[in-house]
Symmetry: C2
Subunit: 232 residues, 2 copies
Amino acid sequence: MARYQEIALSLEQEISQAYHAGQYLPAEQRLAERYQVNRHTLRRAIDELVGKGWLLRQQGKGVMVLSKPVRYPLHAGAKFTDNLLNIGAAPTSQLLNLCRVDASERISEALQIPIASQVVQLKTLRFIDDTPVSLVFHHFKLGEHEIALGRYQEGSVHQFLKQHCHITLKRQHTVIGAQLPSANDSACLQVPSKTPLLRLQSINVDQQHQPFEFSVSHIRAELVELSLEHPL
Amino acid sequence: MARYQEIALSLEQEISQAYHAGQYLPAEQRLAERYQVNRHTLRRAIDELVGKGWLLRQQGKGVMVLSKPVRYPLHAGAKFTDNLLNIGAAPTSQLLNLCRVDASERISEALQIPIASQVVQLKTLRFIDDTPVSLVFHHFKLGEHEIALGRYQEGSVHQFLKQHCHITLKRQHTVIGAQLPSANDSACLQVPSKTPLLRLQSINVDQQHQPFEFSVSHIRAELVELSLEHPL
DNA sequence: GACTTTAAGTTATCTAGACAAGTAAGGCAG
DNA sequence: CTGCCTTACTTGTCTAGATAACTTAAAGTC
């Protein structure tokens, strides 16, 4: 077993016993001295625990110990916002960008439109208690509701659609994967490039069961896990 | 944007255009020379794409371009083995370890037994076409079927239970997360410590809807994604 | 031919040093 | 007191080099 793995294991034990969420580890240089290794080797050890969701790096501040992730139910009608309000957390959403883009193969298949035709793309960032949690790309067909969407600024997108367009969306199909963040993901979610993300691709349908929205969410896996009840 | 991120972006484009699954990239040293950077910087760039599921590192051989992941449906009755046979792949399972362990809080909660009471733990490794795909920890209550379980050696565990114990398991509750592999995960799944894994924790019930198995799967996210149909 | 050894080429790990970039707190001018 | 600047400390990135571990194929041995 590599030295950095030994150190990661040792640190993991120490954290679970002597630290609680919100506390900061000693500086990398100090830890490197304690373990008698180069700072790069110690960084590698910390990277292991960051990847497992135990620690969060904050440039200029230090390495923080995290708490257990929020469990997020995945029903057909499950709403990000409502779920979190129930827990007592303060969920917010912020519009980053609104534009038209050419539909990729995946998007056109999901929305049942021709490939390379244009769609409206909404890029939003979701927070829990001022911590960025997920980056979401919403895709809608062009059409009557496009102008209304242009007025969206913040808060739940699905709530907005319900109020201004009288459309209630339901989750119809979801594909779940995991990946490391791109440079853009890292920047928006304020995580280093080694913390894994959950990737959710959802097709949401309107009351007539017609595909209305295709969304791709990149979610910080140290903070959130998905929960699923299977019907009998 | 950091140099290694620029290189990752450049490589990603090149791969999607000029490579197909199974091909190998030029050696790190060559690529480092091409981009005029130190080999460590180029490694960091490759790490980005490994994390995104585009590439697979193989010590001593090189860096291989991967194909798109297998999509694995997650119904109540979904079976790893049957799903893959339908696709035309060759799924196998191998027993790594069988022992009794003390139930953690998570396990005892899932199986509805007292905390720290003992359970039977089966550790299995699943392959698709001789590639290790997931590492699974199965947990069962002690009891009448324990001896039968002791005879399990390979193939689908659920199939084995059906044939030898006449028990048909159904997925009742699933929690999905993502994390980087531990040292043990890396070794069993033959992946470096930077490729993210999907983590599936499932409670499986018998015909009387009683919790019978609690399993924890660590799945290579570059190879598999989970698919979910939501009922109306 | 079958097996072993060797060599070359590859990725993996560790060390060492430098500088950039971000944070926080104290000191200072207004 | 407020606002700005400086300074110290932290993490992030890049370079450079050495050695270990692993894979493959060719050369050698029986």
